[in-house]
């Protein structure tokens, strides 16, 4: 069943915000109680980021390999925290008729999605703080040159994955198969986003396609925010002032927003509230 758009039960903004927060709090509780969810959304992304701690020498793309990898893994973490985790959550909740109950309640559809998205975004922000702290304490890193930009990159990077997870859950049959349906997306996004290595060796056209896929702009925005260097151009990346870094990141931020819109459209078509019969 596609996402329908009847009048939302909570047109009252304070009710919407209140219920979004209640759903988020509930999701955080459940995330800590379920071993699988805990691993996907909390342990694994941190583990991924810690890989960078092993890379203590060398340079990539004009910055130290350790910091390059750490910022890339920080972007990739959002894939696990929000995309993979929520694909599973939405699928399991649909199959167990929890989504049906939620939809049959006073909760609006917006609060149901926004609440789950808020929970994973909060987790992701905390993970970002942990990884940045690790970068300073163990990799000779520094505070992000443009902290608000990096923060925005993290938040939008997470928000972008909420509708995409909803859409993918619509074609996923069970919680177990979610691990499989996200796999192709993970391979494509991890390989094309420059999260772990630059794509300079690739043909021009492929590079351009890669740069327009969802994770790539998140990686760029996070690196621009962290290093204060223009990662949208080829290495060596020119240094940017605070305002210049916003300007350099703007087209990438717009691309993330475009993916939010596209994701929402796909979700409207593929997301299902109830298990399919037969």
């Amino acid at each position: 069943m596609a996402l329908s758009r009847p009048q939302s039960p909570s047109l009252d903004p304070s009710l919407l915000l209140g219920n979004t927060w209640r759903v988020a709090r509930l999701d955080l509780t459940l995330l800590l109680r379920n071993r699988m969810a805990f691993f996907t959304a909390i342990a694994f992304p941190l583990l991924l980021g810690s890989v960078a701690l092993l890379l203590r020498s060398g340079y990539v793309s004009g910055v130290s390999t350790g910091l390059y990898t750490l910022t890339g893994m920080l972007a990739l973490a959002g894939f696990f925290v929000t995309f993979m985790h929520l694909t599973t959550v939405f699928t399991v909740r649909r199959e167990e008729l929890v989504l049906k109950r939620m939809r049959g309640s006073v909760l609006s559809e917006t609060a149901i999605f926004a609440g789950s998205g808020l929970a994973t975004t909060l987790v992701y922000v905390v993970q970002a703080a942990v990884l940045i702290t690790l970068s300073i304490t163990t990799l000779g890193g520094h505070l992000p040159r443009n902290l608000p930009l990096l923060f925005l990159g993290v938040v939008l990077g997470s928000v972008m994955f909420v509708p995409l997870a909803a859409a993918l859950s619509g074609v996923t049959k069970s919680g177990e198969s979610a691990q499989i349906t996200v796999l192709p997306a993970m391979l494509v996004l991890a390989a094309t986003s420059q999260a772990s290595f630059p794509l300079t060796g690739m043909p021009e056209l492929l590079q351009r396609i890669a740069a327009s896929l969802p994770l790539s702009p998140v990686v760029d925005v996070i690196r621009i925010g962290y290093f204060g260097l223009d990662f949208t151009t080829a290495a060596p990346h020119p240094e940017l002032g605070f305002t210049q870094s916003w300007a350099a990141a703007a087209p990438r931020l717009l691309l993330i927003c475009a993916w939010i819109v596209v994701g929402t459209l796909i979700a409207r078509k593929y997301f299902r509230w109830e298990p399919r019969h037969g």
Partner: protein, 312 residues
Amino acid sequence: MTIPDGARGAPAIEVRDLRQSYGDFEAVRGVSFQVQPGELFALLGTNGAGKTTTIEVLEGFSAPTGGSVKVLGHDPFTERARVRARTGLMLQEGGFFGDLTVAETVRFWRDVSPRKPCSATEILERVELADKAGVRVRQLSGGQKRRLDLALATLARPQVLFLDEPTTGMDPEARRNTWTLIQDLVAAGTTVLLTTHYLEEAEQLAGRLAIMHAGRIELTGTVAEVVAAHGHSIRFQHPAQVAARHLPALNGVRPRVERGTVEYRLSPDPADTQHALARLLAWASEHRLVLTRLEVRSASLEDVFLEVAHGA
């Protein structure tokens, strides 16, 4: 048979020629009924008759394929905001967050609902789950889950309550407690639409009921009306010494003999029944027969149900 819905004010639930299809399959084929405020209306029917489909359209889960439905004067699908806050519902199968405790579950749903007339503890006491407050929902038994579901459906004191097989899986005591709870709510003015496979439940609770079969309402009215229309029956054990074809006709009705029991299905008119009985007793003494397990009774809801189920 149709019985007027009564001429009181605006109905709380109004269903007009409802049709609902899943792909090519038409699960509900033109159903109409009304439920007045403060009334309990029961939908009975065979498996797959279309009860859940009907109730879910009323709950606003989907727009009807044909016809129209109104709950408290509003379209439950397009005007969800207006309707949801004033209705409570219990799905045929409830989806729970298995990793939450019973108390956490009640607290969550109480927090999100706009009206909170009672505390979480009171709510749990009402369905006798207070001692399970700290238990994970996953670990509850089937009947306990049903009780939790009932608690959630009623916690905001809704004006209209939809209960899809509320007591399935409950033990007899829990079922009786649930009946009392539902009766209290109805006495306080709540409108209830309930489906059930327990005919006794419908007899106990329902002001009016409808029996559905294959997407249609076959019979509707009060329990007494539905049963009365079905007539009376006289039964006794088939006397071994009389061949079935030698049994008398009563009021022109021939008996049915099934599994050693003779049954006459008579009209609902008591005078007819009395006349038939007198005739039967006269015949018995003529033949020096003692009729064992002789009974005269009005049809039960079960008789009516079975007749509908066998495609009346």
